[in-house]
């Protein structure tokens, strides 16, 4: 119920239209769905998906070794390290995003260090581009990647790897054929946890992206707040929910297949 009612309301709103001074006029129509196919919105969706995929890939590349490192520490260190991983969540993402602006601007600490040691002569443009958006998203959601990976890796018994190497597999091969498939649940869960909120985030593109490039989250936020066009905002939100559902269905299918083949849980 908790999940179905809000989505039902969103669906209902998407069928009405905005009043002259905001608000909702309860006249059934499908105009909002027609507006959805304006190429500018498709461009924004494409850009958002690209950025979210990039953020997910980078998070996986950093998150996997990090989770591995934590899972292979002695027990008491693991707890400490996990607390460190979730610590940033104690502060609002908004405030931490402002902190990145202080670090990355032309006169910021990073550029001052780079010019200071003479790596570059001119400050590097680190802010207000796709790079800074991806960085902000990776920073914000990396813990959501590490936690499920940690859970998957920690469950893995070290003997399996040892057996693989004893049987002559190289370390890399043992990783690819034994460890990675066995931690696949963690990988998929982590990727979803990063991908989904990255796609909907509107703070990072606003602040670190300099508001130059909207993402899907910005579109929805703008419709609800600035345009006071709740019906069209609801339509956009519905489109995003549909997109997410497709991703989740694909994920569920893959997991079900894995289970049939008996590789998901060893």
């Amino acid at each position: 119920m908790l999940l179905v009612v809000p989505v039902g309301l969103i669906l209902a709103y998407s069928l009405f239209r905005r009043g002259t001074y905001g608000g909702v006029v309860y006249e059934l129509n499908l105009d909002n769905f027609e507006r959805l196919f304006d190429p500018i919105y498709l461009d924004v969706v494409w850009f958002s998906v690209r950025v979210a995929v990039e953020a997910t890939a980078v998070s996986l590349l950093i998150g996997y070794p990090a989770a591995w490192f934590i899972a292979t520490r002695p027990r008491k260190w693991r707890t400490v390290l996990l607390v460190v991983v979730v610590l940033p969540f104690w502060t609002s993402l908004l405030i931490r995003t402002y902190a990145w602006m202080v670090l990355l601007n032309d006169q910021g600490l990073v550029n001052e260090a780079l010019t200071g040691i003479g790596i570059v002569d001119e400050p590097v443009k680190l802010l207000y581009n796709e790079f800074s958006i991806v960085l902000g998203l990776v920073y914000g959601y990396l813990p959501l990647m590490i936690l499920p990976l940690y859970a998957a890796i920690e469950r893995l018994s070290p003997e399996l790897r040892e057996a693989a190497t004893d049987l002559g597999a190289s370390g890399w091969r043992a990783f690819l054929t034994v460890t990675l498939p066995l931690t696949r649940t963690g990988v998929v869960a982590g990727c979803l946890f990063v991908f989904v909120p990255s796609l909907g985030n509107f703070i990072v593109p606003d602040l670190l992206g300099g508001g130059r490039q909207s993402m899907v989250g910005n579109l929805i936020q703008v419709q609800f707040l600035k345009a006071r066009d709740w019906p069209f905002g609801a339509t956009l939100a519905l489109a995003v929910i549909a997109l997410m559902t497709i991703v989740l269905v694909v994920q569920a299918r893959t997991m079900a297949r894995d289970r049939r083949e008996g590789v998901a849980d060893a």
């Binding site: 905005r18 002259t20 001074y21 905001g22 608000g23 304006d38 500018i40 919105y41 461009d43 924004v44 850009f47 502060t91 609002s92 993402l93 908004l94 405030i95 402002y98 902190a99 602006m101 202080v102 601007n105 032309d106 006169q107 802010l127 207000y128 909120p197 909907g200 985030n201 509107f202 703070i203 606003d206 300099g210 508001g211 130059r212 490039q213 909207s214 989250g217 910005n218 579109l219 936020q221 703008v222 419709q223 609800f224 707040l225 600035k226 345009a227 006071r228 066009d229 709740w230 069209f232």
Partner: protein, 368 residues
């Protein structure tokens, strides 16, 4: 130690301290951190006033002073932006508060929705403290359903030591000199994002003509390549740090920069600009209208008005307060000397009505 100051300023701002005359784009509803609303507001009818104002937009002594003198209790809720409080009112059907602070064009929308109560002038004798001009604001002539709290305009805020020439025109921002390329920011909220281009082209800031909007869009798309960022909240810090040479800014927010670096100056471009006003609106649903009018009357006292200017370094339409202002403050912040006649020459922002979706689409085309 300027860096430390900047960090602190940023932190404070992120916490929503620097509420803005027009609107701050810092509302953070997804990560659940920066919601600054006080406990559930209720308009109870027991003589307790529930007021929602921008965060840090209320001088410290104002509410305790009012409570002490009148015995009326006040519950102060806070919003980060106009859009924020409008969203809440939209969800509650225009109830839950006795007084809300919103910008003029939003007061107009509240009135058109039928949610704003008529202001009973006989209960607010201190309305006489307002400049006569403050009775002629086009979004609400005669202050029938709103009372102005602060007002001002939008212009170019710049580092006089970094720009090759002092800016005089919106074109200095839209088509920056080579020295300023990549060192310019513009406001991110739709009305002010479009304002410089509309004014440079000689159009109204409230235009609903799609052709004019498209012309402005094409101009702004050209500017986008020279732009550092669209920024509603940290533009003055960018001037202080030297990241930007000139920025589009609200007069009051430019003062935040001037307070940190006196090489920062402000100019209203020759093509003209907007006149914004932040207002107090009593809601029709309020069961405490008499107390609400009493509160507005208290805010309009000269001492209260001075407290507002001291806190915000914004102009207030309270003539009695402005005339008794500390001359030192006026010297430090020349914007506080902008006469009301000059403000009234600027174009008042109005609600866009049915043209709002078109505006939003055009702004999306610019920022995508």
């Amino acid at each position: 130690m300027r860096r430390v100051a900047t960090v602190l300023a940023l932190g404070a701002m992120a916490a929503g301290v620097a509420a803005c005359g027009a609107e701050v784009e810092t509302s953070d509803t997804t990560s659940g951190g920066a919601e600054t609303t006080a406990s559930e507001p209720t308009g109870s009818g027991d003589g307790t006033l529930t007021i929602s104002n921008w965060d840090a937009y209320t001088p410290k002594g104002l509410i305790p002073g009012f409570e002490k003198e009148t015995g009326v209790k006040v519950k102060l809720a806070k919003h980060a932006t106009n859009e924020d409080i409008m969203g809440k009112l939209e969800a509650s059907g225009g109830s839950g508060y006795d007084i809300v602070f919103v910008s003029g064009q939003f007061a107009e929308a509240l009135h058109k929705r039928g949610w704003a109560a008529e202001i009973d002038h006989s209960k607010i004798p201190n309305l006489k403290n307002l400049y006569p001009e403050a009775n002629e604001l086009p979004y609400d002539p005669g202050n029938q359903y709103s009372v102005p709290y602060t007002w001002g305009t939008t212009g170019i805020c710049y580092r006089s030591d970094l720009v090759p020439e002092k800016p005089t025109s919106w074109n200095d921002l839209l088509d920056p000199a080579p020295e300023n390329e990549g060192k310019v920011t513009m406001l991110a909220t739709d009305r002010w994002l479009m304002l410089p281009a509309l004014k440079a082209l000689g159009y109204s800031a409230n235009t609903t003509d799609e052709g004019e909007l498209e012309e402005a869009r094409d101009l702004l798309l050209k500017t986008k390549d020279q732009l550092l960022a669209y920024d509603d909240t940290t533009f003055y810090s960018k001037l202080v740090s030297g990241e930007a040479n000139l920025v589009e800014a609200w007069d009051g927010w430019c003062n935040y920069g001037i307070a940190e670096d006196d090489r920062i100056e402000f100019v209203v471009p020759e093509e003209g600009s907007d006149l914004w006003a932040d207002t107090m609106v009593v809601l029709e649903s309020s069961p405490n209208k008499d107390e609400a009018f009493e509160f507005i009357n208290y805010v309009l006292r000269p001492e209260s008005g001075q407290g507002i200017v001291d806190l915000l370094t914004y102009n207030t339409p309270n003539q009695a307060a402005m005339e008794q202002l500390d001359p030192k403050l006026k010297k430090q912040f020349p914007n506080l000397g902008i006469p009301p006649e000059t403000l009234l020459e600027q174009e008042n922002l109005r609600d866009l009505g049915d043209a709002q979706p078109t505006w939003t689409r055009i702004v999306t085309e610019i920022t995508s």
